[in-house]
Point group: C2
Chain length 423, copies 2
Amino acid sequence: MTADTLSLEDTMRRLGLRARAAADALAQAPTEAKNRALTEAAREIRAQAAEIAAANAADVADATAKGVSGALLDRLTLDAARIEAMAAGLEAVAALPDPVGRSLARWSRPNGLDIERVAVPLGVIGIIFESRPNVAADAGALCLKSGNAAILRGGSESHRSVRAIHRALAVGIKAAGLPEDAIQAIPTTDRAAVGILLTMDDTVDVIVPRGGKGLIERVSRESRIPVFKHLDGINHTYIHSGADAAMARAVTLNAKMRRTGVCGATETVLVDRAALGSHLPGVLDALIGAGCAVRGDAEVRALDPRVAPASDADWDTEYLDAIVSVKAVAGLDEAVAHIAAHGSHHTDAIVTGDAAAAEAFLNAVDSAIVLVNASTQFADGGEFGMGAEIGISTGRFHARGPVGLEQLTSYKYKVRGTGQTRP
Amino acid sequence: MTADTLSLEDTMRRLGLRARAAADALAQAPTEAKNRALTEAAREIRAQAAEIAAANAADVADATAKGVSGALLDRLTLDAARIEAMAAGLEAVAALPDPVGRSLARWSRPNGLDIERVAVPLGVIGIIFESRPNVAADAGALCLKSGNAAILRGGSESHRSVRAIHRALAVGIKAAGLPEDAIQAIPTTDRAAVGILLTMDDTVDVIVPRGGKGLIERVSRESRIPVFKHLDGINHTYIHSGADAAMARAVTLNAKMRRTGVCGATETVLVDRAALGSHLPGVLDALIGAGCAVRGDAEVRALDPRVAPASDADWDTEYLDAIVSVKAVAGLDEAVAHIAAHGSHHTDAIVTGDAAAAEAFLNAVDSAIVLVNASTQFADGGEFGMGAEIGISTGRFHARGPVGLEQLTSYKYKVRGTGQTRP
C-alpha cells in the first residue's frame, strides 16, 4: 500500500507513531545537535528564500482570487524581511539555554534516598495554526530546542508556504543527525485531519492552537489531549488615586495604543473617583489625541463631551482596536471586583504611588500577569526575558502566562539509593 | 423553587458557581485560618466518630445486602482506627507548609521591570472517587490547604459515610471563618451528576479521579476539564550484571512483595544474562519463599523448575497480585528497550554497582520515577517527603509522579515597574 492509498486516519496514526519515535530520540539529543539543527535550518531558509517566496506568492494569489481580506492577506504574506526574521528567530532559539535536563529540585530523605526532579521534554506537540506561515518556523524551533517532536498543521490557505518552510527545517534537522520526523507537517489540507489529530492521545501529548477564537474554541471542545489555551485578553489598567498623573497618562496610552491588536492591549480603564478630575483629563487627551474612540460611564462622560456612552456589553468586550471603555470606581475593592466580574484573567495593571495598594492589587487580582506601574503590553515572553514564546496561556494547568522553552517541558524524578527497601 | 425541584443540571451548575466563589475567597485565606479549619475538622471527626461509624455501618449493610465482594467491602468499611487515621491525616496536612504564595522565581529585566512568579491555587478541584470514603477527608484537606475549593463525589455505595465526613469538615471550615462552600459534597447519588461535572469547565479547573481503571478511563474520555490521570503501574526492577547479589535479592523482594496491590509494586523483573546464574537463584528463592508465583522466559525456566512459562501478555500485565514475570536481557540497552515497549512510564528501577550504568538508566528510562538501588514501592508522596499526596500522575502535563500540595497550585506573575512603557 502506498502513502496515496492510505486512508486519512491511517496517515495520521502513522504520523503520530513516527513523531513518538522521534520524540524518544530527541529527548536524549545533546544540546549541540539541537542548536546545529536550528542554525543549519536558518542557513537553509536564507538559501531557499526565493523558493519560499515563490511558494508564498502562489498561496497569496490563490487567497486573493478567493477574495480574502486585507488583514488576513497581510498575515499570510511572507516578504523578504519576514523570511529573514524567521531565520533570525531560529538562531535566537539556538542561542537560548537548553531547558531539558535542568535540575529543578533535589533533596535527601532520612533513609538516605536522594531525590531529584529533572526537566524532560513533554513529548509530541501538535501545533495547529491559521494564516501566518512563519509560525511553522517559530513554533517548530521552540519544540525542537525543548526536545519535543512537532506535528505542524497550518491553515489550508498557507499550505505551500508551510511546506516550503518545513523543507528548510528538515534540511537543518538532517544536517545535525537528528530524526527527520522531529518536525513533521501534515501532508494534506483536509480539514478532517485536525479532528483526527485531536483524538491521538496515545501519541500526542499537547496541542497548541495558534489563531482566532473560533479555532481555539473548536480545539478545546474536541481535543482529548491537553491544550495550551489562549482565550480572550480583556485587560484593565486601573488608575489609583495615589497614581502620578503623568505616569498614568503615559502608561495608559501605551497599554491601549502601542498596538491595539495584541492580546496584552488594555481594553478597559478604571479610574478612582478621587482621581477623575486630577488624572483622567490628561489620559483622555492622550488617548483621543492618538485616535482612540472612548466609551465611558456617566461620570466619565460628564468630564469630557468627546466620550461616547458605554453599554453593558462594553465591559466584556475585547476590542483589539482603537476603542477603550472607561469607568469610575470608588476605590481598589471596586476595581478588583470589576476585574473579577468582567476580566479574562489575562493581564491587568494598577498605576499607583501607594505601595500598600500596589501589593493589595497584585495579590487580589487573579490574572496570569498582574502589573504595577507598567504597561499591560509587556505581556509577552520576549519582554519577560524568555527569549521567545509559543503563546500565552490563559489556562491554569501546567503553564500560565507566556509559554517559553521551560514551559514546554515536563519532569521526572531520579531517585538514587544504596539498597533501600520500604518498611 | 426549592432545591428539590431544581433539575440535576441546575443543581450542579449552582454547586459549581458556589465553589468558584469559595475558591476566590480561599485563594486569599491566611495560612492560620486554613490550618485552624483542618485541626477543628479533625477534632470534629473524633467528636462525631460514633455518628460516622453508624453512617458507615448503614452503607456497609446496604452493600452486603447487594452481595458486594470482600475487597470492596473492606475498602468501604470505616473502623475506629480508620476514623482516627482520617483525623490524624487532617492534622498532618495542617502541619505542612502552605504552598500558596511561594515565590517560585524572580528576576529583573534591563528596563527595570521586576518579574516574580508566585504560586496560587488551581481554583476548583472535582474529586471523583469510588468506595473508600476516607478519600473525602484526605483529598478535601489537601485541596483546602492548597487554597482550592473542592467538589467531592464519592461512590454511591458510600454516600452516607461521605455525608457524615463532610459534615465534620464543614464544622471545621465554619469554625475557622472560611466559606462553607470550600468543600462541597454532591448531594445526589445520581450517576448523571458525574457526567455534568465533567463538562463544567467554566467553574471547575481540575478533575482528580481516584479509583479503578474503569473510572479513570471514563473520566479521561468524557472530561472537558484537565484531569490528573493515573493509569497503570507496569513497573520493572532491572538487575544489572554489576549489581550486588544480596541487594538485588532484598530490593526485588521488597519491590514485588511488600504490598502487591499498590501502584508502585514491581510487575516484571529483568535480569542481565551475565547475572542469571549468580544473581537470579537468590531472587527466585526469596520471591517464591514469600509466596510469589513466578512466570519466566525459557532461560529463566531453565534455571528453576518452579518457574511457569510467561506468555506474551505477561509483559504487558499489571498483576497487582503475588505474581511476577521474569525475563533475561542482553544488557542495559535491551532492558531500556523492553521498558519502553512494555512499561507504563510509572516507576522503574535498576540495581547496579556500576555508576555509569545507573546514570544511563536514569536518563534513558522515560518514567515518572526512575530509581537506582531502591525499591519501586517508594513511589509515594509520603516517601518523597511531600507529607501527603492526592495521587500519582502518569500524565506529563502540569504534574508527573506524586501529586502533593505544591502540585495542586498554579502560578501568576507579579510585575513591578516604575512607569515603564513598551517601545
